[in-house]
């Protein structure tokens, strides 16, 4: 379970949110510049809140007066907008980048499984600039999941794709979540996508939560 309760001053407004995520898909919806990426970055440890508290399964990521846990030790997967694949490495190297050397055989099997599920077997020896947008998205997903993260953050994961690929990838994500069973946080500004993917949807505006909807029951929580 992920618990986030943070405050951070941004140039135009104050981000002040309080949310918990079980092993479910949480979708953050809001116009651009409403503080969505700031929240993801705070959870990932790439940026720190002014105060508050972030914990994942009892593990303290951030707490007011303590030194924040470095990104490297948080064991999260982060799918960046536009994917941020390493241009100088093949798809295979990209995916294997975060895998610890220690249990190589096990890791190899895991990657093989991932690659097969995502159907990117034929791309392994290619470089990122040689593959299409949808393929990049899958490679980036494989890369984020290859480290067996206990939390997956996805920043506008599907915005760069055409509508058909988009549909495929949405299903892909749901399937992955069903097998992975860790919290997913997806940031989007597309309402339809939010309704399709989310177990829970949180609406953000200027750094504040305007409403939270339990999408499976359709009930408004607050």
């Amino acid at each position: 379970m992920l618990e986030v309760q943070i405050k951070k001053k941004l140039p135009h407004f104050l981000v002040d949110i309080n949310l918990t995520v079980e092993d479910e898909i949480l979708v953050l919806v809001g116009p651009s510049g409403s503080g969505k990426t700031t929240i993801l970055n705070a959870i990932a440890g790439l940026d720190h809140p002014d105060d508050g508290r972030i914990t994942l399964n009892g593990n303290i990521f951030f707490c007011d007066n303590e030194k924040p846990l470095p990104t490297q030790q948080r064991n999260i997967g982060y799918l960046f907008q536009d994917y941020a694949l390493f241009p100088h490495m093949t798809v295979e190297k990209n995916i294997a980048y975060g895998v610890k050397k220690m249990n190589a055989i096990e890791a190899e099997k895991r990657i093989e499984r991932l690659v097969n599920t995502l159907g990117i077997n034929h791309l392994l020896s290619k470089y990122p600039h040689q593959i299409s947008g949808g393929e990049k998205q899958r490679v980036a997903l494989a890369r984020a999941l290859a480290t067996e993260p206990s939390l997956l953050l996805l920043d506008e994961p599907l915005s760069a794709l055409d509508s058909r690929t988009r549909l495929e990838c949405q299903e892909e994500l749901q399937r992955l979540h069903a097998t992975w069973k860790t919290p997913f946080i997806i940031v989007t500004h597309d309402m339809q996508e939010a309704e399709k993917l989310g177990d829970k949807i949180i609406f953000l505006e200027s750094g504040l939560i305007t409403k939270t909807v339990d999408n499976r029951s359709g009930k408004m929580i607050c």
Binding site: L46, Q72, A84, P87, H88, H129, A146
Partner: protein
């Protein structure tokens, strides 16, 4: 029979100086690239200073620091019995100081233009800062770093003013190609001067030529990268 020692000495001095300049330049450029702190612009201006100062001023400053009675020079002499002035090491130091700005500037520009998400992505995958630097930042900044490296080497090869002050002109010990040229011209030995001019022009031209060719090829290769 021509004495080729100036060529060997020049290559040795420029090579060793470039090695240190590259390490220091990359280190400081990376250290400063994503940080904002008080006095950063002051330090950066200090780094760039040798680029705009007359070489003799740089040379005089180095003499004051590294001379037998200088701040650093006397310390080196007392503790390590090591003298910089009037040795080829003095030429290396002069060359380091004048070519450092070129390396720093290239490296700083290269690191600053990096996509921060690349490094962040590596971090979320558990890579240590050292690994992030080595496998991501350094590799992606490499074209810019290489440009700095080559320019520093070329600058070191051509360095004259500060070197003459710090290393002196001792035939057979500290006579680099630019010194050989200068004194040959001044004393009217045009044949000797021309010989060395041809060599240094060929060296400088081919290094820069190669850099241009290499970076063009490199740009082609990564062209479709920023999708």
């Amino acid at each position: 029979m021509t004495d080729y020692s100036p060529l060997l000495l020049s290559l040795k001095v420029a090579g060793i100086s470039t090695f240190f300049v590259f390490i220091f330049g990359v280190f400081f450029a990376h250290l400063f690239s994503r940080k904002k702190f008080f006095g950063k612009s002051i330090i950066e201006s200090l780094f760039m200073l040798p680029l705009v100062l007359p070489p003799t001023v740089v040379g005089f400053g180095l003499l004051i620091l590294f001379g037998k009675n200088g701040f650093i020079g006397s310390w080196l002499l007392n503790w390590f019995d090591f003298q910089v002035v009037f040795t080829w090491i003095g030429a290396v130091i002069a060359s380091i100081v004048v070519s450092f700005p070129l390396m720093y500037q290239s490296a700083a520009a290269a690191f600053e233009s990096l996509d921060a998400r690349m490094e962040n992505a590596a971090r979320t995958m558990g890579a240590s800062n050292w690994r992030v630097f080595w496998t991501i930042s350094f590799r992606l900044a490499w074209p810019g770093l290489l440009a700095g490296l080559v320019l520093s080497f070329a600058r070191g090869l051509g360095e004259f003013g500060a070197t003459l002050m710090l290393a002196g002109y001792i035939p057979g010990k500290t006579d680099t190609i630019p010194m050989a040229i200068y004194f040959a011209v001044e004393s009217g030995q045009m044949e000797k001067a021309t010989f060395w001019v041809v060599i240094i022009v060929a060296l400088g031209f081919s290094t820069i030529m190669w850099l241009n060719w290499w970076s063009r090829r490199n740009i082609e290769r990564y062209k479709n990268d920023n999708a």
